[in-house]
């Protein structure tokens, strides 16, 4: 389980960013989480609470936007959302494709701060 170390990185990153805004109080962290990031949402939420304890972020919220896996279908020549991460193929025409366009994100997008 590596979610705790990832949660700690998120807290660190948010504190750094808040420092740039005059030590503003962070109310929420917006995170983009791909289905292929290797990070489990529920475990990350629990870890986040633990990582925030006794820091200025204690009580803040982690708001996660889950990003589906999008692949490029060479036959349709178009981006497509896979119906399952156990089956990397075009949901329209069934062509297998290894080209992942989206779904590996693990990104802090924004902070909600109070100055």
């Amino acid at each position: 389980m590596h979610e705790l170390s990832i949660a700690m990185s998120i807290v660190e990153m948010a504190q750094e960013e808040a420092g740039r805004h005059g030590q503003a109080h962070v109310q929420a962290v917006h995170l983009r989480l791909g289905r292929l990031s290797g990070v489990v949402k529920e475990a990350l939420l629990t870890s986040y609470e633990m990582a925030c304890a006794a820091t200025p972020l204690e009580g803040s919220q982690l708001l996660i936007e889950e990003i589906p896996v999008e692949v490029f279908c060479p036959k349709c020549d178009a981006p497509r959302l896979v119906s399952s991460i156990q089956w990397f193929c075009c949901p329209e025409c069934g062509t297998p494709t290894p080209t992942v366009l989206r779904g590996k994100e693990l990104e802090v997008v924004a902070l909600e701060i109070q100055e």
């Binding site: 389980m1 590596h2 170390s5 990832i6 990185s9 998120i10 990153m13 948010a14 960013e17 805004h21 109310q27 929420a28 917006h30 995170l31 292929l36 990031s37 290797g38 990070v39 991460i85 156990q86 089956w87 990397f88 193929c89 297998p96 494709t97 290894p98 992942v100 693990l106 990104e107 802090v108 997008v109 924004a110 902070l111 909600e112 701060i113 109070q114 100055e115």
Partner: protein, 229 residues
């Protein structure tokens, strides 16, 4: 103090620090003409036996070295040292995966220009290592015939992140009624087009084709990086 909270944009990759180090490592490997290969698998799939065989067979013709991640012991490094190749253990403590900085630190005393192949054995774990780029050229995921054909479907993220699948312990395939076609189908489903090798480190079955693949990849990546030989 304002009453209204304000939204400020950040847009930063959480693993940015790791990615920066990994990119630097990749540059060093390319520049030195080293083919860096990492190995991931569940515990007990035969990573160390596979690596020992690989090192032993490459050793007479190439300069090879290995880094081995382990939670607590140095047993694997001791085993691999029998191949005569330089081996260094990275003890991760409670950390369930290798990170790029650990690889960078472990490489401190080694001159990469004197190497042809570097193998990095990750901690036995099919979940956590998938998120961490180590700067490797190729990631091998190992699946032993004793584990069950549906491993790729259970751990699609790590299988999808790998470049090559190695089916190990092929000498035990019939004893455990391993369904090779199903295993290949499942690997293909989570990573279409992935190169697959089925082999036994014990009997040597299937090793030749795999070694040829490694040698070709080294030649090609050297040519691409403009390194002689």
């Amino acid at each position: 103090m304002n009453a209204e909270p304000r939204l400020v944009e950040v847009r930063k990759n959480v693993l940015k620090q790791n990615d920066v180090v990994a990119r630097a490592l990749r540059g060093r490997f390319r520049g030195a003409g080293v083919l860096a290969v990492s190995l991931v698998s569940s515990p007990g799939s035969g990573k160390t036996a596979f690596l020992e065989k690989t090192l032993t067979l490459l050793q007479p013709r190439y300069k090879v070295a290995a880094l081995v991640g382990d939670l607590a012991t140095e047993n694997d490094a001791a085993r691999l040292a029998r191949s005569q190749a330089p081996v260094k253990q990275i003890i991760t403590g409670t950390v369930c995966h290798l990170e790029a900085a650990m690889v960078q630190n472990a490489l401190d005393e080694w001159d990469l220009n004197h190497l042809d192949f570097l193998f990095i054995e990750n901690v036995g774990n099919l979940v956590c290592p998938s998120s961490y780029d180590l700067g490797e050229d190729l990631r091998f995921v190992l699946l032993s015939v004793t584990e069950g054909e549906d491993k790729p479907l259970k751990y699609p993220t790590i299988f999808n992140s790998a470049d090559v699948a190695i089916i190990t312990k092929s000498d035990l395939a019939s004893a455990v009624e391993f369904d090779e076609a199903a295993a290949r189908r499942n690997i293909e489903a989570v990573r279409p087009g992935m190169e697959i090798f089925k082999l036994s480190a014990k009997t040597g079955e299937g090793i030749d084709g795999y070694l040829r693949f490694l040698e070709n990849r080294r030649t090609n990546s050297r040519a691409a990086a403009g390194v002689p030989k």
